[in-house]
Symmetry: C2
């Protein structure tokens, strides 16, 4: 068996693991990063559709208050550019498309008041959820005993208003409102700075894109690490000894260090074998944090033709299966790219339906939104994150009812020489690139304190 | 690497796996059963406290309509005897103990009506849930969008009535009512034949015990299999080939066959590596079926002294952490054993608190229920199933909101040469010994049809 030795092992070369590696190196610690895939970046993955023209098959956006992510992008000299928002958006509801400017679709005054008052309530409740300990919210027991869907059912009166929050749930959690608790919804809203901050393009979490693709964050972070990043090394077992910890990979290679940071999603962390076994609370936590379901679908055209009609490419819709569309063209508009999302229940149906069915459904939806011109793209590509063995769902994990109050305390709690990172362990912007960076830096700090 | 070859591999030597092995052998198929532990029986585990005096640290009861289990017990010539029910039961609520005969504690007429009408509603709704496809219930979408706790909150008016259903949830699911969906509650109630059938001792699922311990079911099933059962062989990888399937265990041993039956709880099945990887729906299902939390606590006395006071040892209580107690003495009453359950939230707290705290808390509760005599047992033993690496919770898995409707179709669906057993895949008496037998026999039948 080949051996490697360092001060700290890091499992997972996503942004969290690489940020941890970087922070540790800065403190003079030697690291080895063990990555299951043949590439770095985790849930960030770019794909070249032409020379120097990248699309992001995974995470892709930054937005205001994600300071750690912006700082890192700047340090790595990456180029950001705004998501295209010039012109009008579309809302497609009940078989009819409506254009609108700004952020508020024209769906009637009653639904608007209904939805607006629900958002105000959510934002207000969210502020009562402590980001480092959601289970300590004054009403945590009540909020964690019901699904977000039950709250919607109780709190909104209009069909359109309820649909708006279902869309919010799909777009932000890649899950349906019945899959996670109200407490989790509120924590996440607080973590991301409010419903609008999470939802919006300009001024929100979908504001800025990476010219070289978001994965370039990970690629540039990995560059100076060189051979410290070991690809194709899925960690199967982590063993704690009196003075050290070792990780055995699928190939039988054994790596040794004084601490290990596990920087993979909770479900995948739970699939590693630990010796001695993890305490019950930690193990049962990982049984309870499933990943969302999302398929990103790209239609590439010779040019962004919808802009000619004064449209910015943004669509929200109740038409199956493409409820959300963005203009995802390159910064120079040299070609036109529409990005459609299949999320939650739609993603599950269309994952099973297969590539050809997804292509057909996507183009059918896009044609309804943008006319016949949309039916004939030069290229169609999609990416189903639940089919990725080393992600098994995106954007991230969600907490079903009871998970936060019964097991949340075990989320970041180190166990001997094992420390936990990954965006699911972040307090601010959990589920986002910013949260991944926070988590890696926090775990690195914890390790430095005990080394 | 050591090799083994058979017609069918079976992962897990619990009752499900062993029942499958037995059924396959009867059809002339050769089997190898790969068991992670150093013993057979899975969630059945007996422990000798004296020569020929067994206590069940795991599952222990049979009851009416569990025909497969009774038939198997008879075929294996095991001795059953009734749980002790002579005399009065105790209900301890709000700091006060009350005695009562029969099954209905005296807690006031209003709570009684409230609770009774809730049970009637549940039983009626449960009948509308198809056991082989709960997601096809007419109101499945609605029932799966809310927690059982939300339904209780909406449907019961009295504190005592709500407490009764919380107790039901803990006793039957080892989980709190907010952890699983109303649809799952209804499926489970239908699967077990109604709320009373699930709850009762005489005439219900707690009616009969095994003189030699329930694990003797597995021990006797394993006997004729001899070396076909391979202990200490945790399966780490299952690989499908064109004409065969192979399983690699932790020690590196490789076993080959034409089909494999995976007969372990869903979470643990999800922790095995599959090549090729499992389809998204199957993988995401295993991310969503957490195990309950239960610690069985035994206090052993020289004799069942509570019987002298006309008590049968049965207690339901709101006192932390022991909400449920049974007389678990041997059939001849040669010593007295009280069995207390810590379940759901109580189990999690007391798992972290440690053995001494559990012992103290158990004896404190038993003293409140049965007087000072209970404070000095000859022996105290407990067993925390969430700490067992190869169970990671008991009694079984529960389905949080959305799991049945979004992923239930993947529960039993074979994938190539891989078939699924385990009590969680049963239609009748899911979560019970009877369900385990059904699941093993069903999976064996599926395999026979393709071999």
């Amino acid at each position: 068996m080949k051996h490697g030795e360092a001060d700290v092992l890091i499992v997972g070369a996503g942004v969290a693991g690489l940020a941890a590696a970087h922070a540790l190196m800065q403190h003079g610690k030697e690291v080895i990063v063990l990555e299951a895939r043949e590439r770095v970046g985790g849930r960030l993955l770019r794909h070249a559709i032409a020379p120097d023209c990248w699309i992001d098959l995974g995470g892709q956006w930054l937005g205001p208050t994600q300071e750690r992510a912006y700082a890192l992008a700047q340090r790595l000299q990456l180029t950001l550019f705004p998501t295209y928002t010039e012109g009008e958006s579309l809302v497609y509801f009940g078989g009819q498309a409506r254009r609108y400017a700004g952020t508020i679709p024209k769906l009637g005054i009653l639904p608007l008041l209904d939805f607006g008052s629900a958002i105000a309530k959510l934002d207000k409740m969210a502020h009562q959820v402590p980001l480092d300990a959601p289970w300590k919210a004054p009403l945590a027991a009540c909020w964690d005993s019901m699904t977000f869907a039950s709250w919607i059912e109780q709190s909104l009166r209009t069909r359109v208003g309820r649909w708006g929050l279902k869309l919010f749930s799909e777009a932000v959690f890649a899950a349906e409102p019945f899959e996670f608790s109200l407490l989790h919804a509120l924590f996440y809203i607080h973590s991301g700075g409010g419903v609008e901050r999470l939802s919006n393009t300009r001024g929100g979490a979908q504001q800025d894109r990476f010219a070289e693709g978001a994965q370039s964050l990970a690629l540039r972070l990995a560059e100076p690490l060189g051979a410290r990043v070991q690809l194709n090394q899925p960690v199967r077992q982590i063993r704690q000894h009196r003075e050290s910890v070792s990780a055995t990979t699928q190939s039988g290679a054994i790596y040794t260090a004084r601490a290990v940071i596990v920087a993979v999603p909770p479900t995948l962390a739970g699939r590693i074998e630990y010796d001695p076994p993890l305490p019950p609370a930690r193990d049962q936590l990982t049984q309870r944090l499933p990943n969302g379901s999302v398929i990103k679908c790209f239609a590439v055209y010779d040019r962004p033709f919808w802009r000619d009609y004064g449209l910015n490419g943004f669509v929200t819709s109740d038409l199956e299966p493409l409820h959300l569309v963005f203009d995802n063209s390159p910064p120079d508009g040299s070609c036109g790219i529409l990005l459609g999302f299949m999320e939650g229940a739609s993603a599950r149906r269309m994952s099973a339906a297969g590539f050809e069915a997804r292509r057909a459904a996507t183009l059918q939806c896009l044609t309804r939104y943008f006319g016949e011109r949309a039916a004939q793209p030069e290229l169609y590509i999609d990416h189903d994150w639940s089919a990725e063995t080393w992600s098994r769902g995106c954007y991230g994990a969600h907490f079903p009812p009871g998970a936060w109050t019964q097991f949340g305390h075990a989320l970041r709690q180190p166990i001997g020489r094992i420390f936990w990172a990954g965006t699911e362990t972040a307090t601010r912007w959990m589920g986002y690139i910013n949260g991944a960076i926070e988590s890696g830096e926090r775990a690195a700090q914890e390790v430095i304190e005990i080394l």
